[in-house]
């Protein structure tokens, strides 16, 4: 008897039944699945569904697949994924396209599969499903841009999946184990190090760490309104989860995280598309988490603070980023526009959406009393505990840019900045507002009462976010950011441009590959094709009667030679050497002499 039921299977198995239902029953069913998964998680956390200690395993091809590794780290990620999926499906409840719902639940289910996987084979299996189901959420937008972005998305993730598989195979070959634990680097060159590097690259791609980040800002803004909300939560945060599992305390991650935190805000300044602007802030916010993983040296107080900070920030980020994308998606859904240059002055038409969006904006910016404050400051505090001044300043600087864009530039450009509305607008459907309301409530609840989050973090929390120095420092930082914004706000109007990112390289390389395929490669292919077909035709003709065919060929060759001779006739006369000519002349004289002697006398 199955002692434990995988919460991911509730989504994966339950999803395909969605098209069989109609009307309210379908809506109730859509909301029921996350509720079932949540109950499952609650029972699981109380130890009801455990079969073998804290894992649930399955024998497969001689390996013990651990489909369920249940510990505080996997549980907290599972909690937030399930809670977010409920709000997200509520946001998408009015969507009639069942395929989107099925893809979304496949995506959620596979992410839960990644979170609970205790071995590398299970991890890879769900990792790949996650990539494909996310692709469907992009392609369901059914625009040319979405198809292109989707292709680029899946190609990048193919590369990541190939790296992961190669890394896993080498790792299993060198260690003989498939268990997914902390990866250890050895000294010098070894196959074990190659395996670790490949697996790390795969994780970094999904976490959108530069230089592997461009797929995110390219693809997410092209997804459907509701699909993009799902996309914000799962791929990058599951990547943060596996980084915490596999590479805690890796110094490289500290710097990559800090760089990506700043990188995202720099590009967000240039963005005109509101969902792309928010996508760059996913990169920036995941930077805090990655930096936290880098500082998360196990067994140290500062390391545990950093890992707690990464986990807490992933939890909070899923909530507020989904809320922000819901707000931006609501604007896109009712106006059909997502560019700052085409929006403005919508406050009177969409005041509720604005206020709910602003809760997300305050949260991501780290305002006290909102959830971003209680999680982001943990990572920054960890950088202080490690005495890393540059990392500290980079993370604080990224907080400035975050408030500047998501809290000021975007809402200013969409809901204000113009006296008259730039386009017709109204509040979005009720279910979208309710979903945003729940998200806003959760963001505020955790901000006001962080104990609810701190109690479920993987390590004991010895941190008080509402200390005077933190509250005053953050207030000064954000208030004076506003002052600078107000002075320079005219510079922050949207411009009808796009900004080049590192995807330029593979987009341009793709262009060259296309040209190479269409021109030289196709010419060569046609040549080979023609020759092969000639050969095939000849073999077919020859095989009908080989003896007769040989005879015909022989005659043809002879006939051809005869024709050639006839054509060439008389051909070139043989050239004689001087000696031969003299001999001929001598013979001629001899003949003349003989004739003369005979006839002349």
């Amino acid at each position: 008897m199955m002692a434990w039921f995988h919460p991911g299977l509730i989504y994966i198995v339950g999803g395909p039944f969605i098209p069989l239902l109609k009307g309210r029953l379908k809506k109730a069913y859509l909301l029921l699945l996350p509720c079932l998964a949540f109950v499952n998680l609650l029972l699981m956390s109380k130890g009801v569904f455990l079969s073998n200690g804290k894992t649930w395993s399955l024998l497969f091809l001689g390996y013990n697949l651990v489909l369920g590794r249940i510990d505080p780290l996997s549980l907290i990620f599972a909690y937030v994924f399930v809670i977010a999926s409920f709000c997200m499906i509520l946001y998408a409840l009015h969507i009639q396209d069942d395929g989107q719902h099925v893809a979304a639940y496949l995506y959620v289910g596979s992410t839960l599969g990644v979170v609970f996987s205790g071995d590398l084979i299970t991890l890879f299996f769900f990792w790949e499903i996650m990539a494909w189901s996310a692709l469907l959420l992009i392609w369901y937008r059914k625009t040319t841009a979405a198809y292109g972005a989707g292709f680029r998305y899946i190609l990048v993730h193919f590369f990541g999946g190939a790296c992961l598989l190669a890394g896993i195979l080498i790792h299993v070959h060198t260690t003989g184990s498939i268990s997914f634990e902390v990866f250890r680097w050895g000294a010098g060159w070894s196959w074990g190090n190659v395996a670790c590097s490949l697996i790390l690259i795969a994780f970094l791609i999904n976490a959108a760490v530069p230089p592997f980040h461009a797929w995110l800002a390219d693809a997410y803004p092209e997804a459907t309104v509701t699909g993009a909300v799902f996309l914000t939560a799962f791929t990058t945060k599951s990547a943060v989860y596996v980084l915490i599992r596999g590479f805690p305390g890796l110094e490289l991650l500290t710097w990559l995280g800090a760089i990506m935190a700043v990188y995202g805000v720099v590009f967000a300044v240039l963005e005109n598309d509101i969902r792309r602007l928010l996508a760059y802030h996913i990169i920036s916010q995941v930077g805090y988490m990655v930096a936290g993983v880098g500082m998360g040296v196990l067994g140290t107080a500062a390391g545990e603070m950093a890992l707690n900070g990464s986990t807490a920030h992933a939890f909070c980020h899923i909530l507020y980023k989904a809320l922000l994308f819901m707000g931006a998606g609501a604007v896109l859904a009712v106006t059909g526009k997502s560019k700052l240059t085409e929006l403005g002055g919508l406050y009177k038409s969409m005041p509720i959406t604005f206020h709910l969006y602003m809760v997300g904006a305050y949260s991501i910016s780290g305002f006290p009393l909102f959830n971003g404050f209680v999680s982001k400051t943990m990572v920054v505090e960890a950088s202080g505990m490690w005495h890393r001044p540059v990392i500290y300043l980079m993370l604080e600087g990224a907080a400035i840019g975050t408030f500047l864009h998501t809290g000021l530039k975007l809402p200013w450009g969409v809901w204000f900045s113009k006296e008259k509305p730039a386009c017709e607008a109204k509040e979005p459907p009720f279910n979208m507002l309710v979903a945003m309301g729940i998200m806003a409530f959760l963001c505020t609840l955790i901000g006001v009462y962080p104990k609810i989050l701190y109690d479920i973090l993987p390590y004991p929390v010895h941190y008080e976010p509402y200390s005077p120095i933190l509250v005053v420092g953050m207030s000064q930082l954000l208030l004076f950011t506003f002052v600078a914004f107000w002075l320079l706000r005219k510079m922050l109007h949207g411009e009808p441009t796009i900004s080049l990112d590192l995807d330029w390289f593979y987009r341009m390389a793709g262009r060259k590959v296309m040209w190479f395929c269409q021109e030289p490669l196709m010419t060569f292919a046609r040549f080979v094709d023609r020759k092969v077909m000639d050969l095939v035709h000849y073999v077919v003709w020859f095989s009908r009667n080989p003896a007769e065919a040989l005879s015909i060929k022989k005659e043809e060759i002879l006939h051809q030679r005869l024709s050639e001779k006839r054509e060439k006739y008389p051909g070139e006369l043989p050239k004689m050497s001087v000696g031969a000519s003299l001999l001929l002349i001598l013979l001629f004289f001899w003949l003349y002499l003989i004739l003369h002697l005979i006839w002349g006398s």
Partner: protein, 76 residues
């Protein structure tokens, strides 16, 4: 009210620094208005720096990639 908040945050900085004597990680935190300065200057640098980066290098017309695609793709 906004100006009041600004003044309050600055006064709060002095209060925390000289009355509560909190544990500081870095020397610059001893400056009571460091966060305010960093917020203002950082915001200006982000705006000006990013805009310059976009103006001179990264910002392109919206149809940049469409105009650089191969012919066959463009037709499809």
């Amino acid at each position: 009210m906004f100006y009041g908040c600004l003044v309050l945050s600055i006064l709060g900085g002095f209060f925390v620094r000289f009355y509560l004597h909190p544990h500081l990680f870095f020397s610059w935190q001893s400056l009571p208005i460091f966060a305010a300065l960093y917020g203002f200057v950082g915001c200006v640098i982000i705006i000006l720096g990013s805009k310059a980066l976009g103006h001179f290098w990264l910002s392109k017309k919206e149809d940049y990639y469409e105009t650089h695609l191969p012919k066959q793709r463009k037709e499809s």
